[in-house]
């Protein structure tokens, strides 16, 4: 789902009672959209066995 300023603004009002400035909502939406898009593109290379829980073991394996 495309994240836009309108969605962020509506959620801020509905869930938090905050009247978010439209410019601010647009900025927040742009950043979230940038992160989601970049992650989705990077995720194309994920394989079945990519397991996030091995991260610390990988770090220990990379020490010299």
């Amino acid at each position: 789902m495309k994240i836009d300023g309108k969605l962020i603004r509506e959620e801020a009002r509905r869930k938090h009672g905050i009247d978010l400035d439209a410019d601010r909502a647009d900025e927040l939406a742009r950043e979230v959209d940038r992160l989601n898009t970049a992650t989705a593109e990077a995720a194309r290379s994920i394989g079945l066995d990519d397991d996030p829980t091995v991260f610390t073991a990988v770090l220990r394996g990379l020490r010299r």
């Binding site: 869930k15 938090h16 905050i18 900025e27 992650t39 991260f55 770090l59």
Partner: protein
């Protein structure tokens, strides 16, 4: 005399304490006198525990005199970011929401500095829940840069950077999720170390984003920072990430020869392009490493933009989850800038968050294998812009906030996603007499490499010995 004692390095005052040349009570009183003088100016403490510190100092003096020296922190006055739990005491996290929150457990890092006999002078200023990178603060009042109080100290560990630089304390334990042990270090002119993920236990510390959080240190010299890091590093059953880390990474041991160490300078990366005011300072630092016998070479860092985005995805999603209930039920208890930032992560789908985490081991392995086969450390600016003043830092709480935060943290966040150790070293000043920091990043558990490079650099430079003025307009 008081100022002389407070101006000593951590390692020098420790040696003096052990030999009886200075008492812990004298050192503590010297720091308290500095705090009384400078706190109104820079606002780096949340509260000051005068009686508790003097009682602890008296006990330390008795123990040392009786031959019970506990180690390099015994009797040394420190203070820490207001985010580490102490059973029965308040840890406020720089927030209104938790300002009366009493912890029921003590953090591993505080247990370790206490066991080492350090004197705790009181909790230090931090941005609200570690959100924000300037030190501007709606609830506590802003912490200010001791070099010029019109300028920000950096964040989120604002008080740690400002207090260490001002000679109010000898060192500080803080946290780093995207740069918080390095940004205030660079902006205040001190040393900050972000250790390898898993080197220091995070048990009993406020979470900002579990997957990225590490606890690190501030001090004025690399040796001082390494001495403090040595004490807090090590395995803890309560933080599984630390299991298997003992004996690696911490800066222990004597400084070694750096001749032949390879320092990589990233090429083709716009994020590391420093503004003109900083360029000559950073170039001079690189030349100094070259004169020490290091081999300075260009290096391409793979996937850096993707790594930055994945780090942001993890950070926003985890922070939104941590603060979900409060941002829904009591949003008015946050500063506007914090609640906006914290709610952003709600729009990161679980799938994207988990993809960012699933990519992490493989990307880290590929990055380390490629980069650290070619070099021993990567050199970058810590921050690419001169230290902003509070007026220009308004951008951090206005509509430009995401861009402003990106600008501040773009040199530091990648090390958090990759779990790599990093150090910020003071390396000079801009024309406005505000500090500049350079960053070195090493392979996992490569803290000893960073220590060697930092120590060698500080043997032939004196940036870490420069003192900020005690009043604005006074000569440094």
């Amino acid at each position: 005399m008081t100022d002389d004692i407070a101006g000593m390095s951590l390692t020098d005052v420790s040696t003096a304490l052990r030999r009886g040349a200075v008492s812990s009570t004298e050192a503590t009183r010297a720091c308290l006198a500095r705090i009384e003088s400078q706190q109104p100016r820079i606002n780096c403490f949340v509260s000051i525990d005068v009686d508790g510190a003097l009682s602890a100092a008296a006990r330390a003096d008795e123990e040392i005199a009786a031959g019970g020296w506990r180690g390099p922190l015994h009797g040394v006055p420190l203070a820490h970011k207001d985010m580490f739990y102490r059973a029965g005491e308040v840890s406020g996290f720089g927030s209104r929401i938790c300002r009366d929150r009493v912890a029921d457990d003590t953090s591993e890092v505080m247990e370790r500095v206490d066991a080492g006999g350090a004197i705790d002078l009181g909790p230090l200023h931090m941005t609200e829940f570690a959100v924000g990178h300037t030190g501007a603060h709606a609830h506590l009042g802003s912490c200010r840069n001791p070099w010029n109080t019109a300028h920000v100290p950096g964040g989120s560990s604002s008080g740690s950077g400002a207090a260490v630089a001002s000679r109010l304390i000898y060192g500080s334990v803080a946290s780093d999720t995207g740069g918080s042990c390095r940004l205030p270090a660079a902006m205040c002119g001190v040393v900050g170390i972000k250790p390898t993920f898993g080197l220091v236990s995070r048990h009993g510390g406020m979470p900002r984003a579990w997957s990225l959080d590490v606890f690190g240190v501030y001090a004025r010299s690399v040796d001082d920072a390494a001495a403090l890091l040595d004490v807090i590093a090590g395995e803890d059953q309560r933080d599984p990430a630390t299991l298997g880390s003992s004996g690696y990474g911490n800066g222990g041991g004597s400084a070694r020869d750096v001749r032949g160490l390879r320092i990589g300078v990233p090429v083709g990366e716009a994020v590391f392009e420093a503004e003109p005011a900083l360029k000559p300072v950073l170039e001079a630092a690189l030349e100094r490493f070259g004169s020490l016998g290091c081999e300075v070479m260009e290096i391409a860092l793979p996937d850096l933009q993707t790594i930055g985005a994945l780090s942001g995805t993890v950070l926003l999603a985890e922070a939104a989850a941590i603060h979900d209930e409060w941002t829904r039920e009591i949003p008015d208890q946050y500063a506007d800038s914090a609640v906006w930032r914290l709610q952003q992560g709600r729009h990161i789908p679980a799938t994207r968050y988990l993809q960012a985490l699933r990519l992490r081991p493989r990307i880290t392995k590929a990055f380390v294998s490629e980069v650290f086969a070619a070099v021993d450390a990567v050199f970058t600016p810590t921050v690419t812009m001169p230290v902003p003043d509070f007026d220009s830092a308004q951008a951090f709480t206005s509509a430009e906030a995401p861009e402003a935060i990106f600008e501040t943290t773009k040199c530091t966040v990648w090390a958090n996603y990759l779990g790599l150790p990093a150090i910020s070293l003071p390396c000079g000043f801009t024309d406005g007499n505000l500090p500049v920091g350079c960053q070195l990043v090493a392979r996992p558990f490569g803290e000893s490499t960073l220590r060697a490079l930092g120590c060698a650099y500080q043997t032939c430079t004196d940036w870490h010995l420069k003192r900020p003025p005690d009043s604005d307009g006074a000569a440094a």
